[in-house]
């Protein structure tokens, strides 16, 4: 019998339909993966299951936990169900935890409420649960505050809160999206182990097909509030029938066309960085203490050839963004030497500096934060032309803006619109247009596709590859996502703790990683095809075992 089932569930908010006739069910100990792009309604399904719908929502259909109907249940009944029978792991551990309460208080809260046990007993149980989620055993863990833990540890605490009352049904909404790949692998393994051992049912919500293919027994693919396709994982991916799911799978392992413009390995490097060090002063704890420094980038050297595409990979805090800002001239190096087009950007005349700045531009991660909401697209894209302010006429300027917009596949009419009129993918195109408008030789792209849905991501990668060949720009492509870097770069640099640990051609680094850190990174990165292969092998093994017996 199904532990949890939703039948013909429809939800609308202020009259706008968000979910349309969604049905799914989970058996005991089963993992159902719910995949879709942003706005597909996957998070709303989770909120409906917990009856935590936002104001103005109306619902129709039926949701059952075991034999109990949840739709329309009183708040009082739901308070008994939430946390005790159905529980949830949230995406962002920092906001899911209360910064003013200790870990012990937060995890034991549910125990105290549902089982009316004494505080002493609840804390004992809490200690056990924390051990269960792999937090190091020490007596102080209960007394720590969220900010004293790392991101991975915080997510373990969130999981501990969710499983403290031993719910039968667990919902995990993008549980690893905010985490680094190596931590992601650990957290996913932990979730899987808990669910298997305690025979919990898990609704795993994710935008990442690879994660779902690896974890789930069954998968449902959502689009625009509807489940377009669902079935057992292996079978579903083998026989994708809906065009949208095919498109989604294609996009998630999309590789843009290979470069057509050959590289000249003997050319003078466009950018040469020698022994770069960048340190930041840390706040002093007392007046008499000697000031401590944090070394974000530690003796880094790299070269980028004309129209070469170089990937910079590493986890959060490894110094990759600091390196990018220093290369862009936004921050001065503490030590070391940068040479762009043969000149040091920090030691040139004002006029030369303008020329150098024209040669290097940037595309940032957040397609929402990178535009002034009060400037039109024309004004935004024309901004770098400030570097040519006394050199070109207003008409020439407009011509360049239109050319840049057309180069990224936007229309000249779009110039008069405002950023909020565009989708995330279009905004990233505008960001690329802004970077292209001064005809730079090098574009530093800091996580340019991380905030985008997979199908949009594929389009932007295609665009970047096309611009590389058509205009001959070089890229310094920074990302935490190995599959993206693999798809678009010629050479990869791997950073860890402010240092470069490995460097080489993309193929070589991904096929035969030498440094243990790179090996760990490659192994931890979710890969759709690899996990489907693994699953297939396991299925065959199980079948032969069954036949033998």
């Amino acid at each position: 019998m199904a532990v949890f089932s939703a039948k013909n569930l429809s939800v609308s908010i202020n009259g706008t339909p968000i979910l349309k006739n969604v049905s799914f069910s989970l058996a005991k100990g089963e993992i159902l993966g719910l995949v879709g792009e942003s706005g597909s309604g996957k998070s709303m399904s989770a909120l409906a299951a917990m009856q935590l719908l936002p104001d103005g929502a109306t619902q129709d259909g039926s949701i059952r936990y075991k034999k109990h109907e949840i739709v329309g249940a009183s708040e009082r009944t739901m308070n008994e169900v939430r946390g005790r029978s159905i529980s949830m792991v949230f995406q962002e551990p920092m906001t899911a935890l209360n910064p003013t309460k200790t870990i012990g208080d937060q995890v034991s809260e549910g125990l105290l409420w549902h089982f009316k046990m004494t505080r002493q007993r609840a804390l004992e149980r809490t200690q056990k649960v924390l051990e269960r989620v792999g937090l190091p055993f020490d007596n102080h863990m209960l007394d720590r505050y969220p900010h004293q833990l790392s991101g991975g540890q915080r997510q373990r605490v969130v999981i501990a809160m969710a499983i403290a009352c031993k719910p039968r049904f667990l919902i995990a909404d993008e549980p690893t999206t905010a985490l680094d790949v190596t931590i992601q692998a650990q957290i996913l393994a932990l979730l899987k182990e808990i669910v298997r051992k305690d025979q919990m049912s898990l609704l795993l919500i994710s935008h990442d097909l690879a994660v779902v293919a690896d974890m789930a027994d069954r998968v449902a693919i959502m689009k625009d509030g509807e489940i377009v396709e669902h079935g057992p994982t292996g079978q579903l991916f083998r026989t994708l029938s809906h065009p949208y799911s095919q498109q989604l799978v294609e996009a998630s392992s999309h590789i843009p066309k290979a470069r057509t413009r050959p590289l000249d390995p003997d050319a003078k490097p466009l950018l040469a960085v020698e022994g770069l060090v960048r340190t930041y002063p840390l706040p002093k704890r007392s007046v008499f203490e000697k000031r401590q420094y944090h070394t974000a980038v530690n003796t880094v050297s790299l070269r980028i050839l004309p129209h070469e595409s170089v990937g910079l990979v590493g986890e959060s805090g490894c110094g990759k963004s600091t390196l990018a800002r220093t290369v862009l001239g936004l921050e001065e190096p503490t030590k070391g030497h940068i040479s762009f087009l043969g000149k040091n950007p920090f030691e040139v005349s004002h006029k030369e500096e303008k020329a150098l700045k024209r040669g290097i531009q940037a595309v940032f991660q957040d397609p929402y934060g990178s535009f002034d909401p009060r400037h039109t697209i024309a004004k935004t894209v024309a901004e770098p032309l400030h570097l040519l302010r006394h050199e070109i006429s207003e008409t020439a300027k407009n011509g360049k803006v239109i050319a840049a917009l057309e180069a990224v596949g936007l229309k000249p009419q779009d110039a008069h619109k405002y950023p909020h009129e565009f989708s995330g993918g279009q905004r990233q195109r505008i960001a690329i247009a802004r970077a292209l408008v001064t005809e730079p030789q090098l574009i530093v792209a800091d996580e340019p596709v991380s905030a985008l849905d997979v199908s949009i991501r594929a389009q932007i990668l295609d665009l970047l590859a096309d611009l590389r060949d058509r205009l001959g720009v070089a890229y310094l492509f920074i990302s935490h996502d190995l599959s993206v870097v693999q798809a678009i770069t010629d050479r990869v640099i791997v950073m860890n703790g402010g240092r470069i640990v490995e460097e080489g051609s993309t193929e070589q680094v991904f096929r035969h990683p030498k440094h243990p850190y790179t090996r760990m990174l490659v192994a931890a990165a979710p890969d759709l095809n690899a996990s489907l292969k693994r699953r297939h092998k396991a299925e065959i093994k199980a079948r032969t075992a069954r036949q033998k017996s």
């Binding site: 202020n14 800002r325 862009l328 001239g329 936004l330 500096e353 303008k354 700045k357 290097i360 531009q361 940037a362 940032f364 991660q365 957040d366 929402y368 934060g369 990178s370 535009f371 002034d372 909401p373 009060r374 400037h375 935004t380 901004e383 770098p384 032309l385 400030h386 570097l387 405002y418 909020h420 802004r434």
Partner: protein
């Protein structure tokens, strides 16, 4: 969604915000009365006509006359003008000095920020009206000194708002993009930061305007504000005090005028905040 994704035309929702509408009506009433008084008042108020004193409402004197025989409606209209001009200039002083200081603190950080913000704290530490009394007592009573006294206390208010707004923008990628375009700090502040915090400043200015009106009334009640023959609400209240027993309407009218204008500009400020601040927008949907 992003908190800074302000729509371009927030005033389309204006008619749905009750506080905005009521505030707009009350504030306009005061503004229009003050404006008309520039060209015309029902009666002249600079001549005393004792024979006419303490008249009740009539078709000649709509709100009656005071103990010197001056027309109360005319006095109220001129009083509105005085209050608004004093409060407006005081807000102007606050904007002119406070905003650049706040922006300077936000962009330079470090010692500059400490210096600006701690000086702010120092000014904040004094009760505003009390210090205004001190200043006008030192410099002598009069409209100009009242403006200066009230204006000084507007400076830290605007400095704080400007700094807070600028800091909330500080991590934004579009500011980095502007720096990559070779723009100077001043230029980026003028082109990107100031337009994006304009909403906050407009709302604060409206609220400071109402506080300014109240402060002006307070000062002139104590005889430290604009001097006769210029009419002001505060002094009207003061003069009515001795007549309270047999002519309470003399105190009632200027009192009501103060209440209406303070309430009006406060509601207008609240309404504007609801309309312009996207973080609070959900309240009025």
């Amino acid at each position: 969604m992003d908190t800074f994704e302000a729509p371009i035309h927030p005033f389309r929702r204006a008619w749905k915000s009750r506080s905005f509408l009521i505030g707009l009506c009350l504030a306009s009433l005061i503004l229009i009365a003050g404006f008309i008084s520039l060209f015309w008042t029902p009666h002249a108020i600079d001549s005393l006509n004792v024979a006419n004193r303490l008249q009740a409402s009539s078709s000649q004197h709509w709100l009656g006359t005071d103990q010197y025989g001056r027309d109360i409606l005319s006095m109220l209209m001129i009083g509105a003008r005085t209050s608004i001009i004093v409060a407006l200039i005081a807000v102007g002083i606050g904007l002119l000095f406070g905003v650049p200081l706040g922006l300077l603190a936000a962009t330079k950080r470090g010692l500059v920020e400490e210096a600006v913000m701690r000086t702010n704290d120092l000014i904040f530490a004094f009760p505003a009206i009390l210090s205004a009394i001190l200043i006008t007592a030192l410099l002598g009573p009069g409209a100009v000194n009242a403006v200066i006294a009230i204006g000084i206390f507007n400076i830290p208010v605007f400095a704080r708002v400007a700094r807070g707004g600028a800091l909330s923008l500080s991590g934004r990628d579009f500011l980095l993009a502007a720096r990559l375009s070779g723009k100077s700090g001043l230029r980026i502040t003028l082109e990107h930061v100031l337009p994006n915090i304009a909403n906050l400043l407009i709302v604060q200015a409206t609220i400071q305007l109402s506080l300014g009106i109240l402060a002006e009334a307070g000062l002139s009640y104590l005889g430290l504000g604009p001097q006769p023959p210029l009419a002001s609400w505060g002094r009207m209240l003061n003069e009515a005090q001795t007549m309270m027993a047999f002519a309470p309407q003399l105190a009632l009218y200027p009192g009501l005028a103060i209440v209406v204008s303070v309430l009006g500009f406060n509601l207008l400020g609240d309404g504007l905040r609801d309309l312009l601040d996207p973080r609070l927008r959900r309240r009025i949907r």
